[in-house]
Each structure stands twice: as C-alpha cells, then as structure tokens.
Amino acid sequence: MGFAPSKRRRGSRQHVSTELPIIPFINLFMCIVPLLLVAASFQKVSILSLFLPTVEEASISVPSPGSDMRDFTLAVVVSTTELSLRKDDKVLLRSSILGGNKMDLPALAAKLAEVKAASSWKRDIILMVDGAVLYDTIIQVMDAVRGEGAQELFPDVSLADRVVEVR
C-alpha cells in the first residue's frame, strides 16, 4: 500500500490554468499603438480669423432695442510701452507695458466686459498696433479681447496700424 500514490497528491498535480490568454491582447495592442502614433498630433494648431469689415457689412450691425443704440468705435491701442482702450475719442483704460511683455490683460478684459455689458450687440473691435510690437503680443491681446469660452467679448477683431498722435 505504501507504494501506491495517494489520491490527494494526484489531485494537486492537475493544473487548471486560471491566467488570461494575454498574447492576443498584446498582438492587438501592437497593431493599435503604431496606428494611433501615426494619427496623433501632439501640438494642435488652430486658427484665429481676422475680421475685415466691408462696405456692406459696415451698415448691417443693427443694435438690439433697449441697449445703447448708438454705434461707436472701440479700439485697443498697443505700442511697445503702452496698452490703452479707447471708445471713440475717450480713453477708458491706459496701462504701461513693463519689461516688454508684461501686460495687464486681466484689467483690459475686465474693462471690456463692462463695455460689453452696456452694449451687448457690439461685436467688432479694432486693434491698433505699433510696427515694433511682436506677433506674439498681438495674439495675447487678441485673446483677451475675444474673451474666453462662454464669456464672449468682441470676437470680430480687425488689425490696424497705430496712428502716432501729434501733440
């Protein structure tokens, strides 16, 4: 009887594989990963449309009743040293640009939000830029002027040359 292997030992030797078949998964991933790598774009490019008012469009902007009906020209003047917001001939905000690139854009956005609240039909704004101002700075100001997400300020941005004031 001592030579006969016990039933218990024989049972433990039977291996039931509980592992998942991983190799097919890996095969699948090996196909998906290169496919996605080819189609991935890590730095997304988007565009900012410029607004060019035409003669026909200039007369279309109809103010809604109940708001400030009179149309006005809103302009942000950007030079290398100063950033100012003008409504017709009146200067609403004036801030100096420190160290070339440090602009007080939140203050500009806050002031623009005030103007927008008073006349919500207004969509266009002119950016009057000095020749020496860098493209990067223009885009930053355009972002502030357009507003972000739900709080849309003035999305129709036109670019113009800054007229040097003669005093």
């Binding site: 988007s46 101002v133 223009i138 670019l159």
Partner: protein
C-alpha cells in the same frame, strides 16, 4: 530511524514549485493600455493640415477653431513661403522700407487666385472664397506682418486667418 518522520530527499524535491520560464506579460500589458489611452487622447481624425518648418514657432492662443484647407503663407524673419514654395524676398528690406506691397508675393498670390478662380468657373461645386492662413513666427514684428496681410488682401485673399498653437493642447 523511522523513515516516516523525515521526508526523503526525493519527496521534498518533488514538492518544490516548478520554476516558471515565461515572460511577465502583465506589466507589459499595463504599459500598452496606458499608451493606447494617451494616444487616443491626442488622436486627430482630420490629420495635419498645416505642416510647419522646424524654425517656425507659432504663438499660443486660446482659440479652438480648427484650420481649414486654404492657401498657406509661412513667415519667419528669414524666409517667406507660399504653399511650400519659397519666395525670393529680402524680408529685412521689406521690413524697413516704406512700401506696403511686396511684389513677388503679390504676383505669386495673384497667380494662385486666378488658378482657383479658373477651377471655380469650370466646377460649380467649387467657389473661390479667398481663404488664407498666415503661419507667422512669434517673433516677427507687426510692421512686417501688416505688409504680408495687405499684399494678400490686394491679391484677392480677403478671408485671412492667423495660425496659432492651441494653449494646453
């Protein structure tokens, strides 16, 4: 010596766990799953419309508008390209000069515009909208930028857009 108290050498060797020779694939699978999710996040179905040269760094913006198919003008301080074709323009002289028009750019864009208009005449489904995307380096000054935009406008490309990098994208 009673053999029952001391397990034989043979018996103990049999009870030892057999050495596994396979690779550990679970961790590899984890890596793949993470990689797939990361790549799915940055997946873009429309492909790359703008292919930028290495030395052109666009400014970053919060704009989310996707670029459309249009005539592409690439501008840095060193070169000017229209749809991948380099133009022989002395940008330093253009920047400092008083002339608003850039003649080589104007001629090239006018030729492109007339080409598109000819196609639009032949094919009713195509219309010439005057779309133009300007991909300018972040360090170019406005006095150069405005001359490019002005020249493009004079050539009939009035639907102008500026290419930017998406912030946080």
């Amino acid at each position: 010596m009673a053999t029952g108290h001391f397990p034989s050498q043979r018996g103990s060797r049999k009870r030892k766990k057999p050495l596994e020779g396979g690779l550990i694939l679970t961790s590899l699978l984890d890596v793949f799953v993470l990689l797939v999710f990361f790549l799915l996040k940055s997946y873009s179905a429309e492909g790359v419309i703008l292919t930028l040269p290495n030395d052109l760094v666009l400014p970053a913006s919060t704009s989310l508008t996707a670029p459309r198919v249009a005539v592409q003008v690439m501008l840095t301080e060193a070169f000017l390209q229209v749809d991948g074709v380099g133009l022989d323009v002395d940008l330093r002289a253009v920047e400092t000069g008083n002339e608003m028009l850039i003649p080589p750019l104007l001629d090239h864009l006018k030729a492109l515009a007339s080409q598109y208009q000819a196609i639009a005449e032949q094919n009713q489904t195509v219309t010439f909208t005057g779309d133009l995307i300007l991909a300018g380096d972040r360090n170019i000054p406005f006095r150069l930028l405005k001359k490019i935009l002005y020249t493009a406008g004079q050539a009939g490309f009035i639907n102008q857009s500026l290419a930017v990098y998406q912030k946080g994208g």
